[in-house]
């Protein structure tokens, strides 16, 4: 899931200062927390209230679509909605905003979210945690299914470091030490020997940015 956090309302209201009629586009895809119709309507209400306090009246239309990163679906969902609209607010991750910019080049589109990371929803704690760094060179086979790139503060290939304290990371005692988790898990699976080999530095030449996959 792509984890996002809503931008401050003031920042969004600043984006909107030149406009009156704005489409708020939710995304039912993978954004977490879900940024669908409920979020679109809630944001419309919050911005209306914020506008009222600034002495401005907006005309919002809230809608949602299956996945904003799909240019075909996004164009199909937005096109019939754009009559009399001046700008678009996207509730999706950075992908959604850019897809809208691409398919509707005549409209100004603004993000309402800061896109944070690829994370898992830990429902029991109502939290979202980064789990995958999209590094392009997956190590999970040898680390017991726990990613040290995304979950270790230093992205160590051979851990833990001296900052691992009682299973927690020295940078934040709320966060687990990924290497502590890895070792405990491999021990449980009887596969600790997977760590005997020292991993050499990775070849970052393999991971080219911006990434592109053809075909």
């Amino acid at each position: 899931m792509i984890v996002t956090a809503q931008k401050p309302l003031d920042e969004i209201l600043d984006f909107l200062s030149p406009y009156n009629s704005i489409l708020i586009a939710g995304c039912d895809g993978c954004t977490q927390p879900p940024r669908g119709l409920r979020e679109a309507r809630t944001l419309a209400q919050l911005l209306e209230l914020g506008g009222k306090l600034r002495g401005k009246k907006f005309n919002f239309k809230a809608m949602t679509m299956p996945k904003q990163c799909d240019s075909y679906l996004t164009l199909a969902a937005l096109q019939p909605q754009m009559k009399d609209m001046e700008a678009i607010l996207s509730l999706a991750c950075g992908l959604g905003v850019q897809t809208i910019a691409q398919v509707l080049p005549d409209f100004h589109v603004f993000p309402t979210q800061n896109t944070l990371f690829i994370g898992a929803e830990i429902r029991e704690d109502s939290t979202l945690e980064e789990r995958c760094a999209a590094c392009g060179d997956c190590l999970l086979a040898s680390t017991g299914g726990i990613c040290p790139i995304a979950r270790c503060a230093k992205s160590l290939l051979n851990g833990p470091c001296g900052g691992s304290q009682h299973g927690k990371c020295e940078i934040d005692p709320e966060k687990d030490c990924a290497w502590d988790l890895i070792i405990k898990r491999l021990e449980k699976l009887g596969r600790l020997s997977a760590l005997d080999e020292i991993r050499p530095p990775r070849n970052f030449g393999e991971v080219m940015r911006p990434g592109r996959v053809s075909g």
Binding site: P34, E39, R41, R123
Partner: protein
Amino acid sequence: MKVSGSKPEFAVRINDESCSKCAICYSSCPFEAIKKDPETGKLLLEIEKCQVCAICYSSCPAKAIDIIYYDMNSLTSYLEKAKDEYKSDSLVIKCKGSAPDFEDVEKLFGISEFIPLSVPCVGRIPAEILLKAISTIRIKAIYILACDEDYCRFERGSLIARLRVTAVNALLEQLGYGKELIRFRQRSLKVKADRNKCISCGNCVFYCPYNAARLENGAATFDLELCRGCGLCVTLCPALALDLEHWEGDRISTIISNLSQKKTPPNILVMRCQWAVFPELGEEFDSNIHIIDMPCAARVDPLHIMEAFWQGIDGVLIVACHEEDCRSKRGSKEARRLTTALKKTLSQLGFEERLHFCSVAPRYPESFQEELRLFKERIENICSQEVRQ
């Protein structure tokens, strides 16, 4: 701090002097809140456990239990007055859990004019009141709408009411009043899912306290046998694909948009769990206080709170049960979490003080009024500061 006046500290009390120690209350209390002293046989009420269902009150043959809400005297005087006011000799008693209002009573029972009586659980109505209504107050027919028995928020309330009605009907017939004068129906209000709107996020599956939801063929499906109608899934559905029978989001929106607000602030909306506050018969508030009873605080929807603010409501008070009393397991807890999250967002607009979450219980009769008084003061302060600015 106690408001001057009037009410006792607790809503229920066992009166030792009239108690015959028959222990019917002890065996009928669904919450094991009544203990029996093994030596003296004396019955002791543990008020902390008491949910004020009044099953003990309605069952006590010695009338040794005092209760604040819907006691014999207030029910009798209500019925006497209401008979003239409504110019009807039919009485409809409904549990709040089975219907938020009397809208579909006409369809259910086939009557259009009646005396309405809404109570938190029909198990609290003593047989004497039913007899008295027919024999003394001259009511011709009584219609009772209870919850389904496995849906009853007080576990045995609906069952006890059904058994009581059977007994009272038999007695009335023997006394020559007529056959089946009391008609009894049961139902439940449950979730409605629109599979076309579902985005398969799984929120309902995770949050349903009754394990009634699952994802099937890419959409939420509910086992209605298990659903208890708390509305938590509805409030948490990001796709607005769910609704609760008779508590539809649109219906609540309509109520909010029709609130007749006073021109001078503050206008306050109270969204309260119907199990957290038992209103007294004929409960009245100042015209700037607007009350909406909810099936559980879990159904208090941030969208509705925002609608209220947009309509110009100055403050919204969310009234829930204490977490340990919640009739829907985690409803109160989740309601608190959702309100806290919304307050955080509203703080960006300087509106956070206008939304308040509190927990009360009917066992403490003053607790709701006290919370309301404090909140009203707070909102009055905010409004007067605004005027000054």
